[in-house]
Subunit: 293 residues, 4 copies
């Protein structure tokens, strides 16, 4: 069993940290708002006052934060992770951030003798709780091999995809399909409904068809009733799609369906749904079809 | 065990007829090109010279043909199915055709005292052979209940979705997601590849993620090598998407992602790929990204 | 001065017929609803009971009807134009129809020894009244040269673009830009408005910019107040865009912006605006942006 | 006649400075690369070593630079324009930059007692040379009224559109139509060409139709031969479209056609055309249609 650190104890990060403790590891944690970590502290997690202290206390530090600026905030500065990086230290960032930001932090970690891996996860809270969360990993291959047993304490599968930043690139490349699949799904459900098929029946048929990705399976019910609590809200989803579109522009890859889905996410914001689950795309389209959602 | 008829013994129809024979039913078949039915005849299938003769020989006649004109060709005219329709006769059309054509034929069947159900299938040859093909059924509910055991000899599940034409509507509503999901998938794979990730790795990660519908699972390998034999070619896929767009126009349902996918199917035709599997969408996009497919 | 025929005396056709009479030509006319032609009859137009009688009464017969089925209705059958076609007769169709329908009628005219030209117009009632309506002409070049003086009595310019059907193809190729330009214009106006610019100011700046086509110039005021009377309604516009998309599919030309605009025309129908001017696209987008139109 | 300053003497800025000198004004100029200003210096322009010195030398300082970072570079820092701002000083920025950047600089100018106006131009080098360049102006209305005579020495018309940043917002709102109109135009030309119409004829018909904005008029010939020298290259055009899409996301205005056009600009980059004129969109689409451009 290892001493490990965990920075960013939100909905997802907190659950992963708990899972690692369940597996017998000693976890030292940090979160911007300490109050949110109370349950973990009650369960035996150690507390560190800053990201730097987390990284100083152990050889392997994980992080899971909201976006690129949040990663920069925990990495840089006097209290940042970088200050504690040294030979033998590994920093595993599970956040979905810009590949450029990820690579920049990784270069700084290297400069101090440490190793950074980017390791965003594929799946949701539900997937994690079912023990099915998978990870993509970018960075030094030997380090990946070494920390793999630890990753497999989080979920059943990890895949090394390439050098630093490639795993976040892969994650963004996956996530652009969420909005697109949801929009095409919504188009189909509304077409079915206006053809005289009961909406629930249409959703049931779709979610048991060959077109039903697990993501659509989870969200099928959301087109019947948009939940109050978002799994992945319009704003966060647009953050990821925008990262994809920026990468597309830089790399010369046209993303026609992602671009269209993104404009419907914008419409969701125009209609005041930005904090709702991204299944709100159905409601935007229903609106245009003159159907109550 | 029943005497049943089967009109249209192509790749899919022929296999369904064979499956029904395997279950012990007596099948009388018809196909425009008799030669293609030889294996079935060798296996004991009876032959009828016209669609009308098929329907005259049994109480339940299935059909599986290419498109709306093909359905009209086997239904109408002196040799057509309609001539043999009478009280007690059921005509189950498994083709993907325009809902309007389907409803028009159904009305003619009714006028002769028979009952028509539209019952397109969800899945491919592979799904069928794995015994997993599902069916949507539109038309008279009592008739559906009566023929259900027969449908369950074909695949594990059938769902009644509403009146005549609703099942083909549902099928079209499902199928518009094929092109869209494939295009978004292609966008992601190319983004990953230009980010430095090996194409095969990217496909593996995607097809084991929450975004991987079974359809994408089947077709993942096709972006690595487009097969010579199409499962569902660009032309047929565009036929379905065009039906969806026509329905959308008539019913007032905007289909933004389907419309975009359709133009990339057009591009596939412009590039000479119209007989190739619809996974050719990857190749169109790769072309635009300046990457060899 | 010539004896000429005119079939289809609607908003546009009626005005062209009147213009030809003003130039001193003798016009024999036909319209499905005779009452609508009363003003022309009062002004001296001769009446014929059928399209065939129009064509029999003169050497050059014009037509301007709604769509492909309407062209077929006046061309074919016992009362159709074709019955009167013979060597020396010219049939000039100004309708916007499918190129395939146009070519089919032209082939039938040829088979009877006559010559058909397709000659759709570019412009609106306003353009016509300002004497600026231009024509594209497809079909036999010598015949075009011969009838050119007559065409120049209608508007200042005609351009021969190629064989039969090419002029309607060209017209459709032009018209797809209407919806697209209107939608991009609407995007810009709403962006300006939500940036704090008065809507009228934004429209004025746009319509005096290098982006203002004459079409946008005419319709600028329509985004401030959608007129009760449509110049070109959503339904008719979608008819043309759909023709374009069909041609694109057949010819292998992807039409990404036309496809998107078409789905917003569908949304206009979903919102109950199908009889309103196509500037209703602004209202659809305003709706999505949460702005009152 | 006034003493005025001009920072950024590139293709457009240099010509505007020259025009102001022609009108009799005394101009003090600055450009990052002095060599490019030689012709202006030969014509009597005074030189200043830094942006600050330009602004210190006169009451009204113009700027025309490439993008937001370039504006920040000349505004901020020890050598920046801000250091010379004081009551009575006016800074007129003609660059197309992010409205947020423009407003931030304007706030700093105000804090020093000066006044900033944003005044991007509508039109190209050609428009300027024809004396037809128009300006949009954002910022203090009284200052606008005061400097208007000077603006009218540049072009025939200026329009005050609102507070600081609104004029750049308006410019971006206009510019998104460039790519969209070009793409729809390309769709039409390729449709015409594949229908058997000579490409040049199709371009001629289009550019004399009601759909021909002046911008399309200028660029019509470019689809026949893409010029070596770009008027407005793919990269710069994508910079503006990206600004529009960012504004759309922030303000909740969906921009469906701009989003699609932007992906075709990305494709232009994928195909190695990023330094070519934005009419390269035709070449991208021709590529997809299997036509040589």
């Amino acid at each position: 069993m290892a001493n490990i650190g965990y920075i960013g104890l939100g909905v997802m990060g907190g659950r992963i940290a708990a899972r690692l403790m369940d597996k017998g590891h000693t976890v030292t944690g940090y979160n911007r708002t300490k109050a949110k970590a109370q349950a973990l502290l009650d369960a035996g997690m150690r507390w560190a006052a800053t990201p730097r202290e987390v990284a100083a206390s152990c050889d392997i530090t994980f992080a899971m934060v909201t976006d690129s600026p949040a990663l920069e905030a925990i990495a840089y500065g006097a209290d940042g992770v970088l200050e504690a990086m040294a030979p033998g230290k590994v920093f595993i960032d599970m956040s979905t951030v810009s590949p450029i930001t990820s690579q920049a932090v990784a270069a700084q970690v290297s400069a101090r003798g440490g190793v950074m891996l980017d390791s965003p996860v594929s799946g949701s809270v539900l997937t994690l709780e079912q023990g099915k969360l998978t990870m993509m990993v970018g960075g030094d291959r030997d380090t990946y091999d070494r920390v793999l047993p630890l990753l497999l304490d989080i979920g059943p599968k990890a895949t090394w995809v390439g050098g630093n930043g490639t795993a976040v690139s892969m994650k963004i490349a996956l996530n652009l399909s969420i909005g697109v699949q949801l929009l095409a799904f919504s188009e189909g459900i509304l077409l079915a409904e206006k053809s005289g098929i009961d909406r629930k029946t249409a959703v049931d048929v779709f979610t048991s068809s060959a077109l039903a990705s697990p993501m659509l399976g989870y969200r099928g019910p959301f087109v019947l009733r948009l939940p109050d609590e978002a799994w992945f809200n319009v704003k966060m989803m647009q953050k990821d799609t925008t990262l994809a579109l920026e990468m597309g522009r830089t790399l010369g890859v046209p993303l026609p369906t992602a671009a269209v889905a993104n404009e419907f996410l914008t419409a969701a914001r125009g209609l005041g749904l930005e904090e709702r689950d991204c299944a709100a795309l159905f409601h935007v389209l229903a609106h245009l079809a003159g159907v109550s959602a």
